[in-house]
Symmetry: C2
């Protein structure tokens, strides 16, 4: 079914701000996939269609959903991807880069000179095997979203506070460490913020939850009109909570299905629930 | 060095309320150990001294301190322990039972008919191999403090909300699930509450942190004078935060060393820090 970092990020962000995507798909990309993106008013001008098949991933989750094992990864049309931005994209102020080869992330970022806030995701594979390329890329980011173990791997530090300091020195002034079901922690120059995870009644499929976090986080900050230099602690903390809200919804149905019915009212309702179960 | 569930629980609770202990030690229990407990005004009338050696535990922690491996466990004087309460203890309103054989916990609880709030800790060993005895014991408790995996083991439920419901049906109206560095979650009839973990700059030794949580939690509720029937959501949520505060201090030094210098002002300072890094 439809999936991919770009899809989840865009779907989540679209509840907060007008969202456009840059991506590549094959000729097996279905009309109903386009229809779902269009339903959320996601701009598809940067969606490149080339002969061949879409990127494909298949995996199986452990009983408690905390681990997953990849069964199949087919790069397909992703293999020769060279992201080209439509002219209208180049002056946009906000950019969220999904997990992909750091050099490609940098190539996109370099086409957008007017960014007020830019960040992205990465993973253990790039941290270990493409470290120099990743470090060069990170210099141009205002925020980085990674998980606990990636933060430790990138910084070589097991203490989270020291890991955060070292990572922030690499470029991204804002660091969000995602901790799956345990929540997320934000580090920035002025302090830090932690939010516990939402306890789901129904956990069907965690695929894409981290990307939905990224979409909610970036989308909320874009909706506030703030950039890396003027976002307040409160802006960033709320962005982390909206990210958590979007990640939690994502897990409730298989794949992108939750976004077929999700409303902004449900999002605000869950944001208020976060307030309620964290206040003391 | 000095250790044990009772020691940590009493040290932590002593910052909130007058605390008395029931325990057994051997003739190797040192004067400086008694002195530390006395420094915190902990009542030792129920501290039984018998010939032989104290219970002894030795273990080694993983690099990230999230796992530990037991090297040595010697029951020593613990083997024949039959807790007898001094008369003055029997009419006390608050009781926190450290991790030990459920039948012994029950024997202590049954000697105290006037309890307003009683609870305790347990572990995988009792859940698996003494299940019937544990279930009988839990019927008489108002709260239970366990970790994630123990909650799943006890309830046979991998979803935390459903696990909490099943466990609360066993007796304890109040359930706190401890999640180590990730914080803690409270479930009770009127709702739930989560607090993220405190991010330590210095993590020296997590031994006893769960017991310090229990001491802070129970001690705070005792200081408020509330019982299982009249504690509000706010009382219990704050008790969870004070528990987290005490657990976090415990980790900063080896064994019980942090309690040689810890002050109530430091405790209040960290409580306020919890407020600051969780507000949004």
């Amino acid at each position: 079914m439809l999936g991919g970092a770009c899809t989840y990020i865009a779907l989540a962000a679209s509840y907060f701000t007008k969202t456009d995507i840059v991506a590549v798909v094959g000729d097996d990309f279905a009309d109903e996939d386009t229809a779902l993106l269009a339903l959320r008013d996601i701009g598809l001008e940067g969606l490149e269609r080339v002969p061949g098949k879409c990127f494909f991933w298949e995996g199986v989750y452990s009983q408690d959903m905390n681990d997953r094992q990849t069964l199949v990864t087919e790069l397909n049309v992703f293999a020769g991807f060279d992201p080209k931005l439509p002219a209208a994209y180049k002056t946009q102020p906000y950019l969220m880069l999904g997990n992909i080869q750091p050099g490609l992330q940098k190539a996109v970022r370099d086409q957008m000179p007017e960014l007020r806030l830019v960040g992205g995701d990465t993973m253990n594979y790039w941290i270990n095997d493409f470290r120099a390329e990743l470090l060069e890329t990170l210099k141009g980011w205002s925020f980085l979203l990674i998980n606990d173990s990636e933060a430790k791997m990138l910084s070589g530090e097991s203490n989270l506070k020291r890991a955060a300091e070292k990572i922030r020195a690499l470029g991204p002034k804002i660091l969000v460490i995602k901790r799956g079901e345990y929540g997320a922690t934000l580090f920035h120059e002025g302090g830090y913020f932690s939010v516990p995870g939402f306890i789901l009644e129904k956990l069907k499929d965690p695929t894409g939850a981290g990307d939905c976090f990224a979409g909610g986080f970036t989308g909320y900050l874009a909706s506030r009109g703030v950039g890396v230099d003027d976002a307040t602690h409160e802006d960033m903390a709320r962005a982390v909570v909206y990210g958590s809200v979007m990640g939690s919804f994502c897990c409730e149905e298989f794949g992108v299905d939750r976004f077929r019915t999700l409303t902004r009212d449900e999002i605000e309702g869950r944001f208020e629930e976060f307030r309620k179960f964290t206040a003391f």
